[in-house]
Each structure stands twice: as structure tokens, then as C-alpha cells.
């Protein structure tokens, strides 16, 4: 149990997939304009990461390794992730058409969020519970960082920033400073 919690905390903070491993930056920059899109996006990503990690881990141990087909990993994983995203998108469109419109292209683009494939590939050799812990931790880390960043960004909009730094440049600089802060967790666990 302690081991699972440690894995979860490590994926959440120490090895944060966005700020430390620099994966999944596209939705991170794209959806963090407003807090009310960042939170649902984070929740959708948690759901997709944990479910797809679970399924891909199962497929990997029970199908691919049995038949010595590890070279199929990437194509199989991407198929699984894409279908989980499709299910999520259909549910969001059914539950809240407004949210579906707000998230726009970024919802189907969870498929190409490299953090999800990254998590699935990095836990390929783990047992099922450990893989799930890492998956939830990684999704939670993504949500934590995107919500923090959305809050920072809404503050940044009100400041008078020199013309050349407005928009994307100041956002990227902010991400960099946040990443430095997250490196501080390195010795924590």
C-alpha cells in the first residue's frame, strides 16, 4: 500500500509529466486560458490516463508478451487511447454540449497528448495496481499543473506586460519558472 502511495506521489509531483518530463505541452498551453475549461480538461485527462493505462497494461502482459509481440506496443496503445478518448468525448457531448463546445478540438486531441502514451509506455513492465497508481498520479499531476497555470494566466492577463512578451512568450516563461519550482521536489521522495 505504501509503495502504491509512493508511486502515486512520485508521478504526481517528482516526475510530473508536464513540468519535469515535458510531455503533453500542447493541451497544457491550449486549454489553460480559463479555469472553467482547465478543470474539466484535467478530469477528462485523469479518466483517460487511468483507464487506458489499465487496459494497455493488461493487453501488454496477457497478449503482447505471451506472443512475443512487444514491437506492436505503440500501435496497440494508440488504438486503445483513441477509443477511450472517443468514449469520453461522446459522454461529454451527451452530458454537457456547452462544455463540449468550450473544449473544442482539445477534447479529441487528448488522443495525441503524448503524456498519455508516455505513461502507458513507461509502466509497461509494472504489475496492474502499480500501473494504475502511476496512471492516476500522472493524470492528477497534469490536472494540478494545468489548474495552477490557468490561475496564473488569468492573473497575467491583467498585468501590463511589455509588448514583445505578451501572449505565448510570457506563458512559456511562466511554465519554465514553474518547472524550476517542481524540480525542488526531486529530493522529497
Amino acid at each position: 500500500m505504501l509503495e502504491l502511495l509512493l508511486l502515486l506521489g512520485a508521478a504526481l509531483l517528482v516526475n510530473n509529466f508536464v513540468l519535469v518530463q515535458l510531455l503533453g505541452l500542447c493541451p497544457f498551453i491550449g486549454v489553460s486560458h480559463r479555469l472553467d475549461t482547465a478543470v474539466p480538461m484535467g478530469i477528462a485527462t485523469i479518466f483517460v490516463i487511468s483507464l487506458s493505462t489499465l487496459i494497455t497494461n493488461f493487453i501488454n502482459t496477457h497478449l503482447l508478451e505471451q506472443f512475443d509481440l512487444q514491437y506492436l506496443r505503440i500501435i496497440v496503445y494508440i488504438t486503445v487511447i483513441a477509443s477511450v478518448v472517443q468514449l469520453t468525448e461522446r459522454y461529454v457531448r451527451f452530458a454537457s454540449p456547452l462544455l463540449h463546445q468550450l473544449l473544442g478540438i482539445y477534447l479529441p486531441l487528448i488522443t495525441s497528448n503524448c503524456a498519455i502514451l508516455g505513461v502507458a509506455l513507461s509502466v509497461a513492465d509494472y504489475a496492474l495496481p502499480q500501473a494504475l497508481a502511476v496512471g492516476i498520479g500522472a493524470g492528477g499531476g497534469f490536472t494540478l499543473v494545468i489548474v495552477l497555470f490557468a490561475g496564473l494566466r488569468s492573473r497575467l492577463d491583467e498585468k501590463s506586460i511589455p509588448q514583445p512578451f505578451r501572449g505565448a512568450p510570457i506563458a512559456l516563461i511562466t511554465v519554465g519558472i514553474m518547472a524550476i519550482a517542481f524540480y525542488g521536489f526531486k529530493g522529497a521522495l
Binding site: 493487453i59 497478449l63 503482447l64 506472443f67 509481440l69 506492436l72 500501435i75 496497440v76 488504438t79 486503445v80 477509443s83 472517443q86 468514449l87 461522446r90 459522454y91 451527451f94
Partner: protein, 168 residues
């Protein structure tokens, strides 16, 4: 040819089959949950849209929602027996306690020589079919009038008649 070469095809083909079944059945499930509001819409289409409130609901759509919840079908006076029968056929339910009288489509007409331009009828018209100028005179757009009779009681000089629609 060794059978090993077929394994990738079997695995990817099987995954495609399972995933497509899953997505299609999920879609069906969501559509089934969606059917309830659909029924309200179909009942609402059968009602005459007079918004006359004679059924004791504020309008036709609230009455349609109440019908789905189990309200009796014999409350729509302007719809008459025809609407009542259509609703009973759609829902496969008895028509209710009483059979409503058959109504001919009616519309209201203002005797314009007597109109004093008081604007009282235009205020109550639920479909905004009454147009005119205050202190001069008002008239009723016959294409829009639903014959709901709501404009007759407020008229201080009783210059509004209900007229049967000539067969088109």
C-alpha cells in the same frame, strides 16, 4: 508459412472488433437515455400552440411535459377531439374522463369601426397576432390568430367576434 505471422493480425483485428462494438453500443445507450425529452417534443407538436392556458398549465409545452408525467389528455379545449384522439394514439392511452367537443378552427376578428384603440386585447394576445396603434385602431392578423379567445373578455366595447375559418 508459420502461424506466428498471423498473430498481429488476429490481435489488431480482434481489438478493432471489440472497440467498434463498444463504441456503437455506448452510442445506443446514450440515445436511449435521450428519448424522454424527445417524447415531450412530439406531444408538443400535436398541441395547437395557442398558449391559451385553459388546461391550467402556463402554455402548451408545460402541458406536454405534464402529459409525459401522466396528466389526463382531455384538458386541451382549443385542440378539441381531434388533438385528443391524436394524443391517445401517440401515447396508446385512454382519452381521459370526457370527450371534448369537436372544434372548427376559429379566428377572432375586430369590428374596426367600433374599436377605440385601447390596446387591451393586444396585451393579452399570446401569439402577438394583434397589431395597431394606440388611440386609433387595432386589427388581427388572421394567419397568426389561433382562436384562443383570450382577447374577448378584456375588450371594453365588445367588438371582437369569433369567426369560423372558411374551408381553404
Amino acid at each position: 508459412m508459420t502461424p506466428e505471422i498471423l498473430y498481429p493480425f488476429a490481435i489488431l483485428g480482434g481489438m478493432a472488433l471489440i472497440i467498434s462494438t463498444l463504441i456503437v453500443s455506448f452510442d445506443r445507450l446514450l440515445q436511449k437515455r435521450d428519448r424522454e425529452p424527445d417524447l415531450v417534443e412530439r406531444i408538443n407538436d400535436l398541441l395547437p400552440q395557442t398558449q391559451c392556458a385553459q388546461c391550467n398549465y402556463p402554455g402548451c409545452r408545460p402541458y406536454a411535459e405534464a402529459i409525459v408525467q401522466g396528466e389526463s389528455l382531455d384538458l386541451c379545449v382549443p385542440g378539441g377531439s381531434r388533438t385528443q384522439q391524436a394524443l391517445a394514439t401517440l401515447l396508446d392511452r385512454p382519452i381521459g374522463a370526457q370527450l371534448l367537443p369537436d372544434v372548427e378552427p376559429l379566428f377572432a376578428r375586430i369590428r374596426e369601426l367600433e374599436c377605440i384603440g385601447c390596446n387591451l386585447c393586444a396585451e393579452v394576445c399570446p401569439v402577438d397576432a394583434i397589431v395597431g396603434a394606440p388611440q386609433f385602431l387595432y386589427t388581427i392578423l388572421e394567419d397568426l390568430c389561433t382562436g384562443c379567445e383570450l382577447c374577448i373578455p378584456p375588450c371594453p366595447v365588445d367588438c371582437i367576434d369569433l369567426i369560423e375559418l372558411e374551408s381553404p
